[in-house]
């Protein structure tokens, strides 16, 4: 048991927390933006898979790493556009469309990967993002490795949280997005087009999700393999509820979650005699528990999942 406590004092545990949180931060921000505008995007798992594959593939074919992230964002945006067209102007079930996007995007990612990449015994690899030395202080004890020697996408994720929080809370655009999720009719009365706002939010949100997926293949790992997203998308959907649709809380949720994930990974080796599957289950069980705890007082956007049709109430 003292081993379990020793682990908590280990710097490498805390350094890995931000790294594990990064794809979740991107994913939860993307899902949050979609939902704030009133559209549930269950395509997230597939969009992340597509982002992981396309970002990796671009780099594998010779693009710089940052261009890889952009290609992933573009692929995510296109899948988001598909989801937006089906659910916003056509008003189809957001649940079913999102699941369709997930099934389609995952299958397409695996198909294209097999088609375009020669896979031998081992999956081919790329040179991933390396840890940076931010402010030249990554050597300082404890804080250095935890905060100042992450890879570039992690800082991008933190930056995205700040931008999202600012835009949603402080700008007219953010107000319009939030209002579209609460009451699209009021938005239209203001002379704005709720349909365009929703499409825009879903496209941008899906691009963010895809970048989260691309983090897995361009930073955390250096290859792509089927099943690598492993339910992170669904966990992001749970985290949005946990964060009650606020970017700042989403960051906290993602970091908390990543901490438990990093901790269980290390506990597996520290505590013997417990089947490793129990540790692997913990993140999923934790997501469900978190949902139950906060669901009662969750401030769900009032128009979430309600299709908007002009003049129809």
């Amino acid at each position: 048991m003292s081993d379990a406590i020793d682990l908590l004092l280990n710097t490498s545990l805390w350094a890995s927390v931000l790294r594990i949180a990064t794809p979740l931060i991107f994913g939860v921000l993307g899902a949050l933006l979609c939902e704030r505008s009133g559209v549930l995007n269950l395509g997230i798992e597939g969009i992340m898979t597509m982002g992981a594959m396309s970002g990796w593939l671009a780099v594998y074919m010779g693009a710089p790493l940052l261009v890889g992230l952009m290609i992933a964002a573009l692929c995510g945006a296109m899948l988001g556009l598909l989801h937006a067209i089906l659910t916003v102007p056509l008003g189809l079930s957001q649940h079913v469309s999102g699941l369709g996007i997930t099934l389609f995007a995952s299958a397409l990612a695996y198909y294209l990967y097999r088609l375009l990449v020669e896979v031998g015994d081992l999956p081919p690899t790329i040179e991933p993002f390396q840890p940076l030395d931010v402010l030249g202080v990554s050597d300082i004890p404890i804080l250095g490795p935890i905060l100042f020697s992450q890879a570039l996408p992690t800082y991008l994720a933190l930056f995205a949280v700040a931008v999202m929080a600012y835009v949603l809370a402080r700008t007219p655009l953010g107000l319009a997005i939030r209002m579209t999720g609460e009451n699209p009719h009021a938005v239209e009365a203001q002379g704005l087009n709720p349909i365009r706002i929703r499409i825009g939010a879903v496209v941008v949100g899906s691009a963010l999700m895809a970048v989260g997926g691309a983090f897995l293949t361009t930073t955390a790992f250096n290859s792509f393999f089927p099943g690598m997203v492993q339910g992170r998308g669904w966990i992001c959907i749970a985290l949005v509820v946990f964060a009650s649709w606020r970017p700042g809380k989403a960051l906290i949720g993602a970091v908390l979650f990543a901490f438990f994930d990093a901790y269980q990974l290390r506990l597996q080796t520290a505590i013997e005699g417990v089947p490793y599957q129990l540790f692997l289950m913990a993140p999923y069980v934790l997501s469900i528990v978190a949902l139950v705890l906060v669901a009662r007082r969750a401030e769900v956007p009032a128009a979430l999942m309600a299709p908007y049709r002009r003049g129809e109430r």
Binding site: S93, V96, F104, A107, Y111, L115, W234, P275, I288, L291
Partner: protein, 347 residues
């Protein structure tokens, strides 16, 4: 242009919509097959003969269709009441697991043991969906996320059981559970093939589900709850009771899928025994427009794509992931097609 809800859906649209959706999906997938440098017509030809070209391939296809009928029914029943059960995969696995567990040491003859094992599988599946349904009713937790996360939990649990308490010492190296007793294997429908009487049970289940939905008060309440929950509640229908009833029925059907698959095909449980039956069931249900009779036809179609794609992949080199692409495209094109059956486009 605007959409106007149809008051009456003509029969020809009900038949044409899924066919048009499948045709469109095959057309879109043809582009991806062409990108692999293969003539799409050749590829689809190989797919068709691979699934329907011989006696053996047809029985293989029907063997694959059997669990899809159950999981398709499970999704259809739930979606009708707007209970988004995405946990068919997990319910399939608990059904399979409990069947293998009890079926390994149950000391009764087959004719009584098989029904007991089926009931156990159904109970396990129902119990697994009752949790998320309760969490939705009691705490307002979206069942999509809970049922999905449970899939991951269940598959890890299956791994835990077959590496630990239920490990089959006779299965060298390959983790598998202990098998069900020989007297609990479902009889073959056609000798020397894998096709078992589970197919007939699945078709019978579709009939029973149709009867429940079309001919009982519960079925009417289900439909009302799905169409307009507010109006249904106003009309005096107890939504919690209806949703819970639907959850139990849906979970039981998915659990039965796992139970029948174990007794009919695999005997023991492995973590890879389902190539996504639970998820494919969602597509089957949508292609069937949530109708039980349509589920049987849609399951046969999806099984044809899955079984045929393997043969096509071997013959032409097109990655077999194309099967999942086609099935997912069918789901997307079908929801658009359904839009035209429920709405009329007006200028």
């Amino acid at each position: 242009m605007r959409l106007e809800r149809r008051t009456y859906v003509p029969l020809y649209l009900v038949v044409i919509a899924p066919l048009a959706a499948i045709f469109t999906a095959l057309l879109l997938a043809a582009g991806l097959i062409a990108a692999a440098g293969v003539n799409p017509l050749t590829a689809y030809g190989e797919m068709l003969t691979g699934a329907l070209g011989s006696r053996l391939s047809i029985t293989e296809m029907l063997t694959r269709a059997t669990p899809l009928i159950f999981t398709g029914l499970a999704a259809a029943v739930a979606f009708r009441a707007r209970l988004w059960n995405i946990g068919g995969e997990g319910q399939f696995f608990v059904g399979a697991l409990i069947t293998a567990w009890i079926g390994h040491s149950l000391g009764v003859p087959g004719w009584i043991g098989i029904p007991i094992l089926m009931l156990a599988g159904m109970a396990a599946g129902a119990a697994l969906l009752a949790g998320p349904a309760y969490m939705r009713l009691r705490f307002g937790v979206d069942e999509v996320v809970t049922t999905l996360l449970l899939n991951f939990i269940v598959i890890l649990f299956v791994g835990l059981m077959i590496e630990g308490p239920m490990r089959d010492p006779m299965a060298f190296g390959w983790p598998s559970s202990v098998p069900v007793g020989g007297e609990y294997r479902l009889p073959d429908l056609i000798p020397r093939t894998r096709l078992h009487i589970g197919l007939l049970i699945a078709i019978a289940a579709a009939g029973v589900v149709w009867l429940i939905l079309a001919r009982t008060v519960f079925g009417a309440e289900t439909r009302a709850a799905g169409l307009n929950a507010g109006a249904a509640a106003f009309a005096g229908i107890s939504l919690p009771k209806t949703i819970m009833g639907v959850a139990l029925l849906s979970g039981a059907l998915a659990g039965l899928a796992g139970s029948v698959e174990v007794m009919g095909v695999t005997a023991g449980v492995t973590t890879t025994m389902s190539p996504g039956f639970g998820y494919a069931g969602i597509v089957v249900a949508m292609l069937a427009a949530l109708h039980p009779a349509g589920v049987v036809a849609a399951a046969v179609f999806v099984a044809t794509v899955f079984v045929g794609a393997d043969a096509m992949s071997r013959a032409t080199g097109v990655p077999s992931f194309i099967a999942d692409v086609i099935v997912a495209l069918c789901l997307l094109t079908m929801i658009v097609a359904l839009l035209f059956t429920t709405y009329r486009v007006r200028r």
